[in-house]
Amino acid sequence: MVKKKSLVIFFIIWGGLFLGFITLESIGYYIGVQHRAYWKAKSRDTMIGKEGLGEIEKRNKVLKEKLERLSPKGVYIVIDTANNTLYLKKGSNILWQSLVSSGSGNVLEEPGGKRKWVFDTPRGEFEVKAKLKDPTWLKPDWSFIEEGEEIPKNIKERIEVGVLGDYALGFGDGYFIHGTLYTRLLGRNVTHGCIRVGDEDLKAIYRAAPIGTKIFIF
């Protein structure tokens, strides 16, 4: 008798919980459907009421033209740091495509913990700010710290020739698209933030991209 009673209570509790759950689920579904209908109706009524459909179509054309005018004129550079690929584009056409190396994402902390560097390639919109032929590298502090060397006081000790390749295109804050001695690492994320490109590709990019060329990095 007691067993039977406890079994009934068990079923009542679990049945109640199950029914409650199903009810909540149904309410959830219902609210979802209601929201959808509400949004559609609201946007249509409020906006069509103010201006006619023809007016909206005309406005759309103007907006589309405005948007097209924002697109880069002439060539622009797109760098995909996930795939380490650089595209030289004009409109939607790819004029040149090359394998590159971008930032390693590694972290370097100065002994003593005073300064810290994260070697990421910056993302976003940039532009070619400087074009250099036979560039020399002015080694920054992190390079000496990374190599466990003392930071020199004389600027001449920072100059290194030939490591950046034949050309370099600066895009701000000390970041460059430049050549590399480590061509076998092209396609991998190994740099300190700059974009390393193979010699032939770099030559083509250098020739095609004037100062002011837009660079989009993602």
């Binding site: 370097l108 994260v118 993302r123 919109e125 990374e146 991998r188 993602f218």
Partner: protein, 205 residues
């Protein structure tokens, strides 16, 4: 009789559904252009989740930089207004860690062996928490056994937790939308995780 009845309901549904009316299309286009224009005027890259074409576009200044194809998509909760939302947080159980360079061990040979933070170490399944209570689940098409198991748990979560969340947010008078996106493969999901940085804005169209 049954086929005629089904046909009747299909015709009825198509004729009254505001989703497919010309007015709605024109209005949505207007909202999209306005929203995209507001983003394209800034020197920033942005995303457009084009639900209708099943594509994710990464753009800057109105130009397309990269495209992801969506294999499967489904929604829950409030429809999303066509306006920019910024990415608040990317959530995943496992995140790749940055390597620390130890200056004492540095030498030229070491440079070639550096462990770098590359896209292959990015997660394949993750959630994107957008502003305005929009939650986007991203995962690749299931491949192996583990992936199939994950998909099963995700489907369970989708059909049980999401309606409850809808009720919860509705009671709190807050907007809630869940979007479940399946991408072609692991690499595509990793590339999206890599490109979609917190703070970037997106339009869901």
């Amino acid at each position: 009789m049954l086929p005629q009845l089904i046909h009747f309901f299909i015709v009825l549904f198509i004729s009254v559904n505001p989703l497919w009316s010309k007015e709605t299309i024109v209005l949505e286009e207007k909202q999209l252009f306005e929203a995209e224009l507001s983003l394209a005027q800034k020197p920033k890259i942005y995303f457009i989740f084009n639900i209708k074409e099943k594509k994710i576009h990464l753009k800057a200044r109105g130009s397309l930089l990269r495209e992801w194809e969506i294999e499967k998509i489904r929604f829950w909760g409030n429809p999303v207004p066509i306006t920019p939302f910024s990415l608040v947080k990317k959530s995943t159980p496992f995140t790749a860690k940055r390597e620390s360079i130890k200056p004492d061990n540095y030498n030229e040979k070491n440079e070639f062996e550096l462990q770098a933070l590359e896209s292959i170490y990015m997660p394949t399944s993750y959630s994107l928490y957008m502003e305005g209570g929009v939650l986007i689940y991203i995962r690749p098409k299931p491949g192996g056994l583990i992936s199939q198991l994950y998909t099963l748990s995700h489907i369970y979560k989708w059909y049980t937790i999401s309606p409850l969340q809808t009720v919860w947010f509705s009671l709190k008078k807050r907007s809630f939308t869940a979007i479940d996106i399946v991408l072609r493969d692991k690499k595509e999901a990793q590339a999206l995780y890599w490109a979609f940085l917190e703070g970037l804005e997106a339009i869901i169209f």
